[in-house]
Symmetry: C2
Subunit: 322 residues, 2 copies
């Protein structure tokens, strides 16, 4: 079996490539190395069944693959806002290229969407039926709307051209191979703690977040991709959903203060202290996925506890900052 | 001055081309004639300052223009759902091509967005700050999300590359040159009345809609495009809007029953009767634009009364069906 992983040198893409190699696939990783990195795939390059194409997903793609996983897009605000036009092009032209290839070759596709398509959510927790609350013209729109439009393109290619595409909406995920400048709270806290810089907590730190360890996500992706199409179609039709979309995240809630303390507990030599700053007015009180559909369809739920996942992630950043 | 009008052989595009010719422009109309028609530009083709390119807006565009008006996209559900992949490609690739051309040549751009970006609106009437309520994977998504993403692309090209782009969100508009199979209520009623077929009213017909006559819209577009950029920037910044987006529609409300009766009054020879059918569960009770921003910026409001606009439209459809 041959698989193409776009964004294959990125955080999640590199974990997926590794897993597919273990599962016996021939794996082609495609990445323009804009936020992905050769370091993430260094060990994979020696594998005889692995190959790497340094290319942009927005350019036409050739080849024949049984499965295509589309993970190509900068996903953290500092990265996706650096060149917002490039971000929206990556989202939209990327999936158009992949859908064209899939239509021509019959490849099965998994498209990585995001919890950000729910935007500044008016419901909590979000399930897959929620349509979202997103600004079309703001600073985050290049990612949020680009990803929304990519879902539309997937749904339409499926309906109109019969492409077998399965979508996932990924919630906050962390682990080794994260970009050091990702800018979100897990990597920020770990890097600050390792450097002996203060950890900044906004408000009193009682706002909660959910953190999914990368291998839990990859496991769900593989389970989902292995399901027969007939089962996928029947499941989502029974749910009244017009296309297969599945939230994947960890519903356990941690307060930001608990996260900061756990990071410091695991790095006892750190000289960092906690500092408290005023809470930005638009900081959401909670963020938590509803994963009932993934549980029902895949019999899946996250297994890696935060303490264990953090230990792996801290070890990784120690080696990177080394 | 040179202008490019994409969708120039369509309903609104053909009116705009005519108006620009009157205003002394050299006008190039670009249209793939998917829903546009040669009949709409027949009289313009004889004008020495008018030229026509039969091309798709999703293909790269060359030439130098002072102003570009992007009106290219099937806009009625039966048309935009016929080939939904083509619709989303038209929305997104079209505006990407135009933005690239504008960035290269310094052209000023007016992008036609739509009230459909508000989706199944939770507020009434909608003003430009409302973010909308749109399904990413449904049957209407190709148009709604394609148009949302096009707004994002405009806003990002403006911020990142300095393109002078002005967006309009067009509400229900009618008039001569409408496609006979547009499928929306004004053309449906007129054509049914002219053919002597029954006019179907859903529910008791007390639900209200707003109808903007085409020349009112074209007048607003020209006023908006003539404004100096500095004034545009200052106005929208003062409104707290991240990009220039302006609702254009007619806020007068008519019940569907009033519309049907007015059409029959104007076609006294019609043998049509009113028939009542059950109201679909998702039929909105009201639809009405908030045009306070357009009034404030342009000193504009719609002037053509429904009776007068209907008379013109009926005369047009008589000649087409003739």
């Amino acid at each position: 079996m041959k698989a193409l992983v776009t964004g294959g040198a990125g955080f999640l893409g590199s974990h997926l490539c590794r897993r597919l190699l273990v599962d016996g696939y021939e794996v082609t990783a495609l990445d323009n190395l804009y936020t992905g990195s050769r370091r993430n795939i260094d060990q994979l390059l020696a594998h005889p069944a692995f190959s790497f194409r340094e290319r942009d997903v927005a350019d036409p793609i050739d080849g024949e693959f049984d499965e295509i996983y589309n993970l190509a897009c900068p996903a953290s605000p500092p990265h996706y806002q650096r060149d917002s036009v490039m971000t929206v092009r990556t989202c939209v032209l990327g999936i158009l290229n992949i859908m064209e290839l899939a239509e021509k070759t019959g490849a099965k596709v998994m498209h990585a969407s995001t919890s950000e398509i729910y935007g500044d959510s008016l419901v909590y927790p979000q399930n897959e039926r929620y349509w979202g609350n997103v600004n079309t013209i703001g600073l985050r729109s290049c990612y949020d709307e680009g990803k929304r439009c990519a879902e539309t393109i997937c749904a339409d290619y499926r309906r109109q051209h019969g492409v077998d595409v399965r979508m996932i909406r990924i919630f906050n995920t962390y682990g080794p191979n994260m970009h050091p400048e990702d800018g979100r709270v897990v990597s920020n806290f770990i890097i600050e703690a390792l450097k002996g810089e203060d950890l900044t907590v906004y408000g009193d730190g009682s706002q909660t977040r959910s953190f999914q360890y990368c291998t839990d996500l990859i496991r769900a992706m593989r389970l989902y991709m292995e399901k027969p199409r007939t089962e996928i179609d029947a499941f989502f039709a029974a749910q009244g959903l017009e296309a297969p979309v599945l939230n994947l995240g960890n519903p356990s809630e941690w307060t930001i203060l608990e996260l900061a303390r756990e990071v410091l507990r695991q790095i006892p030599e750190s000289k960092s202290r906690l500092v408290f700053r005023p809470l930005p007015s638009d900081d959401p009180k909670h963020r938590k996925p509803d994963i009932a559909l993934a549980k029902a369809l895949l019999g899946w739920e996250p297994e890696v506890p935060l303490a264990a996942g953090l230990a792996q992630t801290i070890a990784y950043f120690e080696s990177v900052l080394g």
